[in-house]
């Protein structure tokens, strides 16, 4: 069975596509904009910037978030920075180079046209944020400062201490607040979208649960946009916030939107290692640390054993006995190789027994040389807040002892499939930011998530959605008493009743932890066909346990266990999607590493002949049925596809 997947990429050379598109797309005139309602779900970088921009254009926007304030969306936690092709450092950067680095960093699995557009609008993002009062780091001359990030040989990353995501989100939040004040955007905080409502095949509204009253409510609009983030919490332990979930994306998937490339999950190399079974989340240490920190493990196994037993400290191991394995394996990029490469290299060393903590699952990130060369004050000015955070958690000061780090689930490149206009395979339903799949291919470079979220929200969606809405100006506002809303609300209520009536013994978290363990062990950093098949079986068995042994307290109003249970039910479906996609993709690329497909040196072995496509998965009407795969072939016109090389 096959379906043609049309990505609707405009004609013309890659550098002219976006300009041509904007010149010829349909627009909605100001008077008609006021007649059109748009639902935006999510208030992170993508959601808030989209809602603000659409409101300012004159559309009537309804904006939802699960937190108590839009300012708390998880974009807030991004530390390191945001990329742009400004070439302020005069180091040879350009739109083309950012485009090229992003495509290469994504292991040649992203859509060229989308990535070019991303690189093209990147500079406007910086201008926009500065105008909003985002206090980016500056040089003494008053110009903006930059730092380097993985996968690039230029300094193109703009930053605000180690809180860049916070400052960018507060910028978008302030723009959103301005529009709320102007009356163009209505905010719905502590609301969770549970379903999307289709009328004649088009997205026309959502069903959401009021998290305070527990009421199920209906909202209608001419178009629905989701900007609800990634699915990293399917692994339970991740760097995501506790509330991050994939339920809005899965709701769209259940209603017919394709889910693309779910197996591309990013494992971030620099996180604080797991310490015990009570742990609820993992803490990221910004990639920017790799600018000055050097990553190593001991050369000698006996040293590693002593570190694991706690009889030796990292600082006691002499220079000549240290293996700076990234610098050894990848001389050209050294400690600044992309995240997937750095993560796998850490796993490889630890699997061989060179891990440096009591679990054997950690490597060192060492600042002693940087402190010696630049002085403690300079390093404190660059990373002080990160060092403090590390010490707070581990009780060890990185000024005295090397940090211990290990890879952890961080970001998901896969997501809801969208075309060039960011429209899903369901008409009138759009996906932006991390929750779509489009720009990062199989691996995302550092400081590119913030760039993509804001590019989608400020500069892409507000244009492309008009091409859809231009046909809708004569469609009157929808009533939420239409039978489609009745049915959707009934489905949601039935689903909640089903979960509430299981009345078993296991808490949501206890089952979620088990799912996370299966995902990490069988669908994690090193995957095999055999392991994935086993993982799929185990997930299905655990899901049976979920449906027979789940316990949710019978409460009206606030019911946090019910919220988590609904999300966990969706994580099961998500976990299966990741596993199916990983099993089908018989190659290694970016964040997807199949142990059967590696070179003799242990590098990822891609198979462009057979897997040069976007994997689009279609729901088959029932959670129990396996999804069906369609393929969107990738077409590269501007860039020659080659093996990724960070060695020379």
């Amino acid at each position: 069975m096959s379906k043609t997947i049309d990505s609707r990429i405009p004609e013309g050379p890659v550098a002219e596509k976006w300009t041509n598109y904007k010149a010829h797309q349909k627009l909605v005139n100001p008077k008609n904009k006021r007649k059109l309602d748009i639902i935006v779900v999510g208030t992170g970088l993508a959601g808030a910037s989209a809602a603000a921009s659409l409101g300012e254009m004159g559309f009537h926007v309804l904006n939802f978030c699960i937190q108590d304030s839009p300012r708390r969306a998880h974009s807030i936690a991004a530390q390191g920075g945001i990329n742009a092709a400004k070439n302020y450092q005069n180091d040879g950067d350009s739109v083309y180079r950012l485009f090229y680095d992003t495509v290469k960093g994504g292991d040649y699995r992203a859509r060229e046209a989308n990535v070019y557009r991303l690189a093209e609008v990147s500079n406007s993002i910086i201008d926009q944020c500065v105008a909003q009062g985002v206090p980016f780091a500056r040089e003494y001359g008053g110009m903006l400062a930059n730092r380097s990030f993985g996968g690039a040989q230029v300094s193109r990353t703009f930053y605000a201490k180690g809180q860049t995501g916070q400052q960018l989100l507060l910028g978008a939040y302030s723009a959103l607040s301005c529009q709320v004040n102007a009356g163009t955007v209505k905010l719905y905080t502590r609301y969770e979208m549970l379903d999307v409502v289709l009328i004649d095949g088009r997205a026309r509204g959502i069903i959401a649960r009021n998290l305070i009253t527990g009421e199920i409510e209906r909202f209608a609009a001419h178009a629905v946009v989701i900007g609800t983030g990634g699915y990293g919490n399917a692994y339970f332990l991740s760097t995501n916030a506790m509330g991050c979930n994939c339920s809005a994306a899965i709701a769209c998937y259940r209603k017919g939107a394709y889910f693309a490339n779910p197996s591309y999950v990013q494992i971030h190399p620099t996180c604080i290692p797991v310490h015990g079974d009570k742990q609820s989340k993992l803490t990221l240490m910004s990639e920017s640390l790799r600018n000055d920190g050097r990553i190593w493990v001991p050369k000698k196994l006996e040293d590693a054993k002593a570190l694991q037993a706690g009889t030796k400290k990292g600082s006691q191991i002499p220079e000549e006995d240290r293996d700076y394995y990234l610098e050894r394996r990848y001389p050209a990029f050294g400690n600044l190789v992309p995240r997937d490469v750095a993560s796998r290299a850490a796993k490889e060393r630890c699997d061989k027994g060179f891990g440096v903590n009591n679990t054997g699952l950690a490597v060192f990130l060492d600042f002693s040389e940087a402190i010696r060369d630049f002085g403690k004050d300079t390093i404190a000015a660059r990373y002080g807040n990160l060092f403090d955070m590390y010490e707070e958690i581990t009780d060890v000061s990185p000024y005295n002892e090397p940090m211990m780090i290990y890879p952890a689930i961080h970001y998901t490149m896969g997501g809801v499939w969208v075309d060039y206009e960011l429209q899903t395979s369901v008409k009138g339903l759009f996906a932006i930011g991390e929750c779509n799949f489009s720009d990062h291919g199989a691996n995302r470079l550092g400081a590119s998530a913030l760039m993509q979220g804001l590019a989608d929200g400020y500069f892409v969606l507000p244009y492309t959605i008009q091409n859809y809405l231009a046909d809708q100006i004569t469609v009157p506002r929808f009533s939420t008493s239409l039978p489609e809303f009745d049915q959707a609300e009934k489905d949601v209520k039935d689903r909640i009743a089903r979960l509430m009536n299981i009345k078993g013994k296991s808490s949501v978290d206890s089952i979620h932890k088990k799912l996370g363990r299966i995902m990490w062990d069988y669908v994690g950093m090193g995957r095999t066909a055999e392991g994935l098949q086993k993982g799929i079986q185990m997930i299905k068995e655990l899901r049976k346990e979920f449906y027979t042994d789940l316990f949710i307290p019978q409460l009206d109003g606030v019911n946090t266990e019910l919220e988590k249970a609904l999300r966990l039910e969706d994580f099961f479906l998500m976990g299966l999607l990741v596993a199916h996609d990983a099993l089908t993709r018989n190659e290694s690329c970016g964040g997807h590493f199949r142990e059967e497909y590696q070179t003799e040196e242990g590098e990822a072995k891609r198979d462009d002949e057979n897997y040069f496509y976007v994997g689009c998965w279609e729901y088959q009407g029932d959670d129990e049925k396996d999804p069906v795969l369609y393929k969107e072939p990738l077409v590269y016109e501007a860039i020659k596809v080659q093996t990724r090389n960070y060695k020379s």
């Binding site: 300012r71 998880h74 936690a77 302020y88 500065v130 909003q132 980016f136 302030s174 609820s280 606030v558």
Partner: protein, 251 residues
């Protein structure tokens, strides 16, 4: 690493109108490298397995930046963390075996309780909506380097902008004043050329909204800066007062 046992007294309140009360629970053998919120996760697991209602509290990122967590621990907002940390960065190694730990919600007229320790902080959003922004249309600004900003100003603006909007300042203040929150935003934008255009309007509108929403006045007790997890200082309040007086004089 060691394990500790202690008694936890936690606030239960079913909605803003309920009187509320403390429940207690004995916590046994909690590893001291557990974070405070992970300890509350364990509490909830134990409550759920005993068929009791879980304890409701706000939390999300668990790395000290989202501002969601809002617990009054042993009489201090966020608990006695190292300076510059929120509850999620508080670890059980800061407590002793045999302690009694009391957990309460933010208590302030501006933040009504929703349930247990979950409070309603939408008042903060309303204050920002009254003027905590520069009015700038998407896609129209000039090049980011067209206006040079001295590093010292940018750094100071960054310090002011670090506020996470958690509300600890209000909870700690005997007057329930939101001045530290308001002044941090006003200061950030007043320090930057981009924010100067609307400075007067902003200061007036945000203060008017703050008063309207029932937050109290500042009497310089400095309780707010003592508990601020992001080390915002009351020099921001002095700057806000200057901005406000300037605006009033110009009227």
């Amino acid at each position: 690493m060691a394990n500790i046992s202690f008694t936890i007294k936690y606030w239960k309140q079913n909605g803003p109108k309920d009187k509320g009360h403390f429940d207690t629970h004995e916590m046994k053998n909690i590893p001291d490298d557990t974070s405070f919120l992970e300890m509350l996760d364990i509490l909830n697991e134990e409550l759920i397995s005993a068929g009791k209602e879980p304890f409701v509290f706000d939390h999300d990122c668990r790395e000290g930046i989202c501002g969601m967590c809002s617990l009054y621990i042993n009489g201090t907002p966020h608990g006695k963390t190292e300076r510059g940390a929120t509850t999620c960065q508080l670890y059980m190694r800061k407590f002793k075996d045999g302690d009694t730990i009391t957990v309460e919600p933010w208590r302030s007229a501006g933040f009504p309780v929703i349930k247990d320790c979950m409070v309603d902080r939408t008042a903060f959003d309303k204050i920002i909506q009254a003027g905590g922004y520069t009015t700038v249309r998407t896609g129209q600004p000039q090049d980011a380097n067209a206006i040079l900003i001295p590093k010292a100003d940018a750094d100071e603006a960054m310090d002011c902008a670090s506020c996470i909007g958690c509300g600890a300042c209000v909870a700690a203040c005997k007057n329930g004043s939101a001045m530290l929150f308001v002044s941090s935003k006003v200061s950030q934008l007043a320090l930057l050329p981009q924010g100067k255009v609307e400075a007067a309007r902003r200061a007036k509108n945000m203060i008017a909204k703050m008063d309207e929403l029932g937050f109290g006045n500042c009497t310089n007790t400095r309780a707010c800066e003592a508990v601020c997890p992001k080390c915002e200082t009351i020099s921001n309040i002095a700057r806000l007062n200057r901005e406000f007086i300037k605006a009033k004089l110009a009227d």
